[in-house]
């Protein structure tokens, strides 16, 4: 049963529309229906968590938004207009940034170098280090991420700091939506705290943040809405304050027949 809970509507502005809306989206791999007729929305300034067991279709859903897969049925709308996200580049052009679990950082380079990899600032043919460093520092300050030195090599950073760098890097493209795939799964408590705080500050900046996570405690801590996927179907969308931990687990595992 789909509990149709729409995202926040604001008195201060005209009825808001979702940044991303997926309607009736399906994806199959040969005979396997990875995603089956799923509806999904993300609004600006909110955190939506996608939860579900292994094989529920979480990754497939996010990969469709990231441009890795294309849906076999259904429509994806970006800011109200139907779009076709046929490659990661087109996802980025739309303003959808993704951080996958492997983070894709160059370990042997510094934080600054990683942030600007492929889009370095140059001045008369030389790298404009000063300019890039200033912007890196200001970016981390805006995100309220604690990063002592931006010249440190990424390889000597903690897991949480690496995650923060990966997220900060996406911010340089001025995205509207950020997709995070299991951002805290490999992290210690302290490090997870930094990432959760970072997710909150992304929300404050008006971005739509989609988080895939299996850590329900953290999901309840930062998410505004929670989408439960089970066997490729949307098993319910809830405001995080309206649903208990037990009920979430039941919906994920199928213990209830909701």
């Amino acid at each position: 049963m789909n509990t149709a809970v729409t995202g926040p509507e604001n008195m201060a502005s005209v009825r808001r529309q979702p940044l991303i809306a997926m309607r009736g989206v399906s994806k199959h791999f040969n005979a396997v229906h990875a995603i089956n007729n799923v509806d999904f929305e993300v609004y600006p300034g909110e955190v939506v968590a996608i939860v579900g067991d292994n094989g529920s279709g979480k990754s497939t859903l996010v990969k469709m938004l990231a441009g890795v897969f294309t849906p076999d049925a259904g429509v994806i709308e970006f800011e109200g207009s139907p779009v076709s996200i046929h490659s990661p580049a087109s996802a980025q052009d739309l303003g959808i940034a993704t951080v996958f679990q492997d983070l894709a950082l160059a370990d042997n380079l510094s934080i600054v170098a990683n942030l600007f990899l492929g889009r370095e600032y140059t001045k008369r043919g030389f790298l404009s280090d000063h300019h890039m460093e200033e912007e890196a520092v200001s970016l981390f300050r805006k995100l309220k991420a604690r990063m002592p030195s931006i010249r440190t090599r990424v390889s000597s950073l903690s897991g949480g700091q690496k995650q923060s760098v990966a997220i900060a890097r996406t911010m340089l493209g001025n995205p509207k939506v950020i997709l995070l795939d299991e951002p805290t799964s490999a992290l210690s408590v302290t490090q997870s705290a930094e990432v959760l705080n970072l997710i909150e500050s992304l929300r404050e900046r008006g971005l739509g943040v989609v988080v895939i996570s299996h850590n329900l405690a953290e999901v309840q801590a930062v998410a505004d809405r929670i989408v439960v996927l089970r066997l490729g179907r949307n098993n319910g969308t809830f405001h995080s304050t309206d649903i208990s931990y037990e009920r979430l687990v039941a919906l994920i595992t199928g213990a209830t027949d909701d």
């Binding site: 604690r146 090599r153 210690s188 404050e204 405690a217 208990s244 931990y245």
Partner: protein, 414 residues
């Protein structure tokens, strides 16, 4: 002693500002290597090394040898007298953990958001891990940690850490917090109510300094108060004094989590305010509501100021009873500033006796979100540091009246 501040742009003023930058960076991160300091402040390695040497000689900083990326590094921390306490504060939707030295100032802190109805076991586990992590960052051995103070947003039995009113924090009911936490970290633990700790924080370091009788009201998701009488925190018979949010203001009102109905919290607590905005504004968080109110949203402003009027009226009743010099507003909702304070002030003036009203100053707390954490650090210092009350500043008498020992309740006789 310098009587004159150095002229701007001079060598000495530059040196002072560089010193300040280094100290600020260390305060922000708890401890850094010299290389990291150079990166964080933008100063050259040579400058950093010189300044660190100077400040270490002056006793402001402390350096130890450490290793970074397989190489030797100088790890720099603030110098402090040995002896640290942990300060843990749980809110309904977040937790904060800090280390404090014997002067009561925070050396390092962490914040972590939590879900509604978060559980005690997970929360206490995380607090213990965060404390261990911070000890490492500030280069302290675990033997330096003398004890941990813990603040909960509910009335607590201070001899066990049990929440004395079930239902207020569902994930924490029947958990003997003091035992559970002290087993986890192997140190003594003291538990207190968060509003009382906020009052203590403002008394020691903030807007209540110097006053003898203060009503500190904390409003946010919960409404609570800390009473300062004769410059001491008033605990009551079993530590539950100050449950301002559970004053009955409407005998036919909504059922409260505490089991009663029509409590002040059911009329002016942030959860209720957010609910009342659901129809027009959708689902908002407390931060959203405060931001919208600051931007001029009429609905949010109205809802906050109406809450201020109700809080003020209840406060006026208390003021008539114990005649405080100051009423200090803390908690998340106080971030709304005059939108909340104005109506509180008006209501106090209106509903209390003229002689009472004229001696009251209504103010916002000066410590913001740090009030409870600083308070619980002060609490832990007084409990766990020998002669703690003397250390806590210029011969001031202890700000804590004796902690109530468990009192047999008459209910047990039945």
């Amino acid at each position: 002693m310098n009587a004159k501040p150095p002229t701007p742009g001079s060598q000495s003023s530059l040196r002072e500002s560089n010193r300040a930058r280094i100290i600020d960076a260390i305060k922000q991160f708890g401890g850094l290597t010299q290389v990291e300091l150079a990166g964080a402040t933008g100063l050259s390695a040579a400058t950093v090394s010189n300044i660190v040497k100077e400040l270490t000689a002056l006793g402001v900083l402390n350096t130890t040898q450490s290793i970074r990326s397989g190489r030797r590094a100088q790890h720099v921390t603030l110098a402090r007298t040995p002896g640290l306490v942990g300060a843990v504060q749980f809110g309904l939707r977040h937790m904060r953990v800090a280390l404090a030295d014997t002067s009561g100032s925070l050396l390092s802190d962490h914040r972590l958001p939590l879900g509604t109805d978060h559980r005690a076991d997970a929360g206490l586990d995380r607090a213990a891990l965060l404390i261990a992590d911070m000890l490492e960052t500030v280069d302290a051995s675990s033997s330096e940690l003398l004890g941990v103070g813990l603040a909960l947003p509910a009335p607590v039995d201070m001899s066990t850490g049990l929440i004395s009113s079930p239902g207020i924090m569902r994930g924490w009911d029947n958990v003997p917090v003091m035992d559970v936490m002290s087993q986890r970290i192997n140190k003594p633990v003291a538990v207190a109510n968060a509003s009382n700790m906020g009052a203590l924080g403002e008394l020691k370091h903030g807007a209540a300094m110097g006053a003898r009788h203060v009503l500190y009201i904390q409003s946010g998701l919960r409404i609570g108060a800390g009473l300062i009488l004769n410059s001491q925190i008033f605990w009551g018979a079993n530590g539950s004094a100050g449950e301002f949010g559970h004053m009955t203001v409407n005998p036919d009102g909504a059922i409260c989590r505490c089991g009663n109905r029509g409590c002040l919290e059911t009329e002016a607590g942030a959860a209720v305010l957010l609910d009342s905005l659901r129809g027009s504004h959708g689902v908002l968080t407390l931060k959203d509501m405060l931001r919208l109110a600051a931007e001029g949203d009429l609905g949010c402003i109205r809802v906050i100021s109406d809450a201020g009027r109700k809080i003020g009226m209840a406060a006026a009743n208390l003021c008539n009873v114990f005649n405080p010099e100051r009423v200090i507003l803390g908690g998340d909702l106080a971030d709304a500033g005059e939108i909340l304070l104005g109506p509180v002030r008006e209501a106090i003036e209106r509903f209390s006796l003229p002689s009472v009203a004229e001696s009251i100053r209504v103010e916002k707390g000066s410590l913001g979100a740090d009030a409870e954490l600083l308070g619980v650090a002060a609490f832990a210092l007084e409990r766990f540091v020998e002669d703690g009350s003397i250390l806590m500043g210029s011969g001031s008498a202890s700000a804590l009246s004796p902690i109530p020992s468990p009192v047999p309740t008459h209910l047990e006789d039945q």
